[in-house]
């Protein structure tokens, strides 16, 4: 292929430099930098408004799109991790409440691996859709997670929720800065972070990671890939069904049971957990996040209900004096709910089997109706 020498089509002489004093040069440079920065920030904000909800793995987008399309059909919502996703069947819940004279239509917005602060962000997005008939929102009650596995740190899932409201709480928790408007990082903790002391070995990189996530999220990093994914029809019917379940209510059955050896390990862990007092409170940062969630839920006229599912790691979480202005429905007492803690009802320490999940849903619905009748849940 013959190639000619490059020809300059547009030859533009750079403008003749103006004679400016040093002070004028600095002022002009500062003004122009300010204009550039403002244009950058405004464009980011504008694009953020214009772009659709991101394509997030694990069923987040599928569930969100489905809920957005049917938002006025549901009056009850469950949101949380896999402990909600695979353990609460809206069909059973609605059947029980109907039988007891308090009909509901519920949707399970549980997503595998979704904890605070991701839950809080997603709940805010759901409430922004203004679902007119939503009356009760069950929010999983658990500690705020600050750790992300390195292999998931570059995923879109680790990015889409990282707005300032969420990231600031994480940064506060990591530096123990309290929940007051004025940040007051704990000096001892700061020293340990800087010196990478034993307990704070990875805190420095976590702080950098979350600050970076906030910047990336604000600047809409990688959002073109979302649009591309959306138009490439990754969201097929089959894929949607895999997250929404056969009844399109967000509940997916997870088969499987523990082997005898796994059951023995489970029984030991259960006994250990039961031997400890049930006094472990959540951090003030998690409580603050839940308080924000409760306020937002109430602002659309719904009632927040916090929920602890039956699982061994949460057995010793304190459910009294939580500091929340809402009900906490706690199933973390094996003595009160022995049928939910038998090894035949569990797939592992954190998840129930299909029959265990159905039993749990029935109990949840029955307790909920009783609380509603008693006027504790309005």
């Amino acid at each position: 292929m013959p190639v000619r020498e490059p020809v300059s089509k547009v030859h533009v002489e750079p403008p003749a430099p103006q004679k400016l004093t040093g002070r004028e040069t600095v002022i002009r440079a500062l003004i122009n930098t300010g204009i550039g920065a403002a244009a950058f920030l405004i464009t980011c904000a504008g694009l953020r408004i214009a772009l659709p909800f991101p394509e997030i793995d694990g069923g987040v987008s599928q569930k969100f799109r489905f809920f957005a399309a049917h938002k006025d059909e549901f009056d009850t919502l469950f949101i949380g991790s896999s402990r909600v996703y695979f353990q609460i069947s809206p069909a059973i819940f609605d059947r029980v409440t109907r039988k007891r004279g308090m009909a509901t239509h519920s949707f399970n917005f549980g997503v595998g691996g979704m904890y605070l602060p991701e839950t809080a962000y997603l709940l805010e997005q759901i409430l922004d859709l203004k679902p007119r008939n939503l009356r009760w929102v069950f929010i999983e009650y658990d500690e705020m997670q600050t750790k992300w596995s390195p292999e998931n740190q570059t995923s879109r899932r680790a990015l889409y929720w990282a707005d300032w409201k969420r990231v600031s709480l994480l940064l506060r928790k990591l530096t123990d800065a309290g929940t007051d408007p004025l940040w007051r990082p704990n000096p001892t903790k700061l020293r340990d972070i800087v010196l990478r002391e034993e307990d704070e070995k990875n805190t420095r990189s976590l702080l950098a990671f979350y600050a970076g996530q906030f910047e990336k999220n604000y600047a809409n990093f990688a959002r073109a890939a979302d649009v591309l994914d959306y138009f490439l029809s990754r969201d097929t019917k089959k894929r949607r069904a895999s997250y929404l379940g056969t009844a399109s209510d967000g509940y997916v059955i997870r088969p499987g049971q523990m082997s005898p050896s796994q059951a023995a390990v489970y029984e030991r862990a259960l006994a250990d957990a039961m031997a400890q007092p049930r006094t472990r409170p959540l951090s003030s940062y998690a409580v603050e996040a839940y308080r924000q969630c409760a306020t937002e839920v109430r602002s659309i006229g719904a009632t927040p209900i916090f929920l602890i599912t039956p699982n061994t790691p949460q057995i010793n979480i304190a459910t009294e004096n939580t500091g929340l202005p809402s009900v906490v429905m706690a199933f973390n007492n094996p003595r009160a709910y022995p049928s939910l803690y038998g090894s035949n009802a569990h797939r592992d320490g954190q998840h129930l089997t299909k029959s265990g999940a159905e039993e749990f849903t029935r109990m949840l619905a029955a307790n909920f109706v009783e609380l509603a009748r008693a006027g504790e849940v309005k």
Partner: protein, 468 residues
């Protein structure tokens, strides 16, 4: 910390503002030196001592060379400098490779040897700063460069952060004179620099990182893919490696320019080269010219018999391959380029004055050159020789492979990128932005950068040349 991370932006803003606020040249140089070491320490602070040690040795050698006139002593000092520099490079980069290769070689002859490899971490950018440093002592030895009296100047030259970890390889004669006088902000082409940075950012963060997953998927298991997919992956890699490396270089040159320093150009549209010799005049120019001046010519260059000159080409190119990494794939990459260079030389010699040959080459020179480049890049990218063999078979002979395939519309992506590159080669994009009023330019730049970030893939792929 890399140029495509937000934290680099904050780091650079701090460096830039404090640098231009300082009044004296010495203060600025000390500030830049501290920042450069901080930049390097962001990877592994322990290796800053290695960097400092290497620089100190070359400073002492430079001083000694400046003082002594005796040829034998001068030879001693330069040998000491080269041995120390190459010794450090050889230990950190090649020790395990040579030990395991020697062991395999002995085992081949039925002499099994127990070998102990060391758990050595490769200091990032060691190949680059070793060559920066060596250029100083060699140029002082050749009396092309007077020895610098200021330790700060030499340390800053070796550790100057923009080209520190992935080039371009800067020579002492090019950079040290720039440190003598104070830089003036009025002499900085800010617009040109920020546009160059944006162009480098797009090349690396959007194009190279966008293509990386497809390339990685193919080269992890080439045997699973069809020949068409092999072509897609190889062409993708050809684009990726160029955009990755030239993107880094653009950003490094831009960052240096914003601080008032010039770095040498490293790329000149290498994929428009019409022969392999031309390719090496356009690709990683700072390395190829370094090897030419400090290795090929001292070996004898083109002087002497044809065989002697060919030997020099082979040695230079094999070492060039080995410079890229401690693996046989890189050695073969160098050997392939040496072969291509020799074939080209022979063709020129045999067809001199033949019009038909010139006519043929008018049409076929470019595709043949590109094919040879792609072919060599397969070996360069492959994780081991067996996978390189599979990929080469699929690419060159259209045989072997499995059923997995990439979408054919990826050829459209290749075509689009090639078209944009060609238009840029023909200077189609122009530089009309230079005429825009400054506030308009600033606003447009901010909007463009915000839009570009949309196209950055969610995963981050490290710079390919960081490992070298």
């Amino acid at each position: 910390m890399t140029f495509v991370e937000f934290r680099f932006l904050w780091f650079f803003l701090l460096v830039f503002i404090v640098y231009w606020t300082m009044r004296t040249n010495t203060a600025r140089k000390v500030w830049l030196l501290l920042c450069s070491y901080a930049f390097y320490a962001a990877w592994n602070w322990k290796f800053t001592f290695l960097l400092l040690g290497s620089t100190t040795v070359d400073y002492i050698v430079g001083q000694a060379l400046g003082r002594c006139e005796s040829p034998s002593w001068r030879r001693f000092w330069i040998t000491a400098s080269v041995c120390v520099n190459l010794g450090v490079l050889g230990f950190f980069k090649y020790f395990n490779f040579f030990v395991s290769s020697a062991s395999q070689f002995l085992a081949w002859f039925g002499l099994p040897a127990s070998t102990n490899t060391l758990n050595i971490i490769l200091p990032v950018g060691i190949s680059f700063y070793t060559f920066h440093s060596m250029s100083y002592t060699i140029d002082v030895y050749r009396r092309k460069q007077p020895p610098v009296s200021s330790f700060v100047d030499l340390t800053l030259f070796v550790s100057f952060f923009p080209p520190l970890v992935a080039g371009p390889i800067v020579r002492a004669v090019y950079f040290l004179p720039q440190l003598v006088s104070s830089r003036r902000f009025s002499g900085v082409d800010v617009r040109g620099a920020v546009m160059l940075f944006l162009s480098g950012f797009i090349k690396k963060a959007c194009i190279a990182d966008g293509l990386a997953p497809t390339v990685d998927r193919y080269f992890a298991h080439p045997a699973n893919f069809t020949s068409t997919s092999a072509w897609i992956a190889v062409l993708f890699y050809t684009i990726q490696v160029y955009c990755d490396f030239s993107g880094y270089t653009d950003m490094a040159i831009a960052a240096a320019r914003l601080l008032g320093y010039q770095l040498p150009n490293n790329f000149n549209f290498p994929y428009f080269a019409r022969n392999v010799s031309d390719f090496w005049r356009r690709w990683h120019i700072s390395l190829s010219s370094w090897l030419r001046d400090y290795l090929y010519i001292p070996l004898g260059g083109n002087r002497g018999s044809r065989g002697f000159a060919y030997r020099n080409v082979i040695i230079t190119m094999v070492l060039c391959g080995l410079w890229h990494g401690a693996a046989w794939t890189f050695v073969i990459f160098g050997a392939l380029h040496a072969t291509a260079l020799l074939i080209h030389r022979e063709w020129i010699r045999l067809t001199e004055g033949l019009k038909w040959a010139a006519r043929i080459m008018r049409w076929f020179a470019w595709p043949i050159t590109m094919y040879a480049i792609c072919f060599a890049l397969i070996v360069f990218r492959a994780q081991d020789l067996s996978r390189a063999g599979t990929a080469v078979k699929q690419f060159a002979l259209f045989c072997g492979g499995g059923n997995e395939h990439f979408h054919r519309w990826l050829f459209f992506v290749i075509g689009t990128l090639a078209l944009i590159h060609w238009l840029n080669y023909r200077r189609w994009f122009g530089e009309s932005w230079r005429r825009w009023p400054a506030p308009v330019f600033a606003a447009a730049y901010g909007c463009t950068f915000a839009t570009v970030l949309l196209f950055v893939p969610p995963h981050y792929t490290p710079f390919i040349y960081f490992q070298f």
